[in-house]
Symmetry: D2
Subunit: 202 residues, 4 copies
């Protein structure tokens, strides 16, 4: 983070470019929103049996719309790509190429993603990262020549964050249904959801 106020070249961050690059790179590295949503289903079906794929995809999209998440996704994929091209300096190249057990920066980036929806997602992240269901198994296949040391953890973290987001929203929906007093923040989306308002673009 910079404090400087004057820059030589007029630099201006375009938030849409950051968001678009996030989607582009996830896709280019072979990960679809549907696959991440399936991890969410895997994690949450036990608690919310009626959870739909559409709902999960929406929540994954909302997680991916956060700048903090976009920064982590882009940085992690960049390091994976560089490692795949053999362009990192030694021994960082070896550590990322071999998904070294004592190298934990990938988990640190993953945690910054989970954290966006709070600590309740820590457990879910650890769980899918250990079990490696669905897309995570493919990303961990070391025979392909592809390197997904970061992406593997990032995808699990996005799914965990989306699960946390769902837990918060479900509580809001429940309170509205029961006509309980509730806090305004969660209310808006929950209300829209109950009214089956089309929220796709949000």
């Amino acid at each position: 983070m910079a404090d400087e106020k004057i820059e030589k070249i007029p630099y201006s961050l375009n938030s849409k470019a950051v968001a678009d690059a996030t989607k582009y790179w996830l896709n280019k590295r072979g990960v679809t929103l549907e696959e991440i949503a399936e991890l969410v289903i895997f994690l949450q079906q036990k608690y919310y049996p009626n959870l739909t794929m559409d709902e999960c995809i929406h929540n994954v999209e909302m997680v991916l719309s956060k700048r903090e998440v976009q920064n982590a996704v882009l940085t992690g994929i960049q390091l994976d790509v560089m490692a795949e091209e053999g362009k990192l300096f030694s021994p960082l190249q070896d550590m990322i190429e071999n998904d070294e057990g004592l190298y934990g920066v990938d988990e640190i980036l993953a945690f910054s993603i989970v954290n966006v929806y709070g600590s309740i997602g820590f457990t879910n992240y650890g769980y899918v990262d250990k079990l490696k269901p669905g897309v995570l198994q493919r990303l961990n296949d070391k025979t392909t020549g592809q390197i997904h040391t970061y992406l593997d953890d990032i995808v699990g973290a996005v799914a965990a964050a989306a699960s946390s987001r769902i837990a918060h929203r479900k509580q809001a929906e429940r309170e509205i249904e029961l006509d309980l007093p509730h806090t305004p923040e969660d209310r808006e989306e929950a209300a829209r959801k109950l009214a089956e308002y089309d929220e796709t673009p949000e």
Copy 2:
């Protein structure tokens, strides 16, 4: 976090009760929203000279509307109150009562607050926690008999989180003003703000 689905006593979290308790306890412990907003002004005026108190208060309120923040505020104040009443077991009582330098759980809770708006707030938190301007100086006065070992850090963290929130919103406003393409998430509030829509209840 619990996974159980059946409970002896029908327990149901009321999110409004949690939000109301947060406001109540901050107030009861002598901290006003205005004082937290002044810390935000202190931190952000350099970057946004036109920042108003109303804007800062609004952002502090938005931070305090987050469940993760409410949990940290309530837990920290509870420990302060217990320490003030001498009800903690030894040596925890001594450590919290004396704001022991090697005891850092207060900072851990503070960080869970800052984190809600991402890592860009870490620096601001450390800065006010060290300088102790405004309300933080009063909370650190050890001659009053009051114990604010947690509250001190919590208030700085809420101000830092509000500063991060402002940085994100200002970017969104700038993009809308410049008619740049922008991401939907930040857009809603920014648009309302530019239209001087009354957002008080949100």
Copy 3:
């Protein structure tokens, strides 16, 4: 954390008192070092089939000798005890008593424990916290009247941290065995270990 240098009452932290209280309270709340060590075996046997209980107990002890860990253990158990006695203010009492899913301060404290040995332990923590093997199942039994909302997460975190510590030490032992150049930090304990030096008091 305090910066003040003069205090009314001559307060002096005794690190041994903090360490002793940590052991005392773990024991009083019904958790033995052996039970935590069994979680470590559960997590690490796959990677180190020859791992012994003694080795795991030693590593658990080393984790528990860290001040940061002691602070988290004592603070968490204190909140559990207060909740069990019904002494917290509402709605914090209800949230901790019922191990509320949207309350995540217990996980935040757990993470400060895991973090002491770095991010490589995040996954192990999440995994045992989800599966709840051994002692974690007992701590999660909601029919006993006891409240272990914090302790449950803390015990899993200590086991995950001990697992990370083992991973670091095993690497050091391997390098010494292979007569590789190695860094001094891990060397001392590894050398002692290979020489079957009695390291119990350390």
Copy 4:
């Protein structure tokens, strides 16, 4: 972090290579241990007026001997170097090149460094990162063509971690001097120190 046990190419992490690369790259990017030690003096002189440069350098070295710290240092410098060479993909290139205010992955890596010695270092990190004394001012000079978006935060974090380490050691020394009961962990180094044992290689 990887769980796989069989790898195509016999890869074996050499911890000394990682440690050496850390020193090499810090040096190559123009940062000396003395400069980091000066930040430690800046942060700690108020509390320990007799603190020597040698002591600070030793503590900086100890921080840099931790694998977690080495991983963060190497990863951050790698990203700085790539950005300096213009080799990152857009818009990550722009964000790191311009030390974008809404990009916080540099702070996330910095925090993983501070965390190694616990939460008591958070405040010190934020403080130097904001004030930018000594070497931090030079690293923030945007007119040189060099990019130190990560290194800037990393150096501040190493100084903050060294400060935390000193706080822990000073407590141990004090307890030994007062012949108080103390915990074994901190005892060894403190005892050596008091005996003016040459601890340089450790």
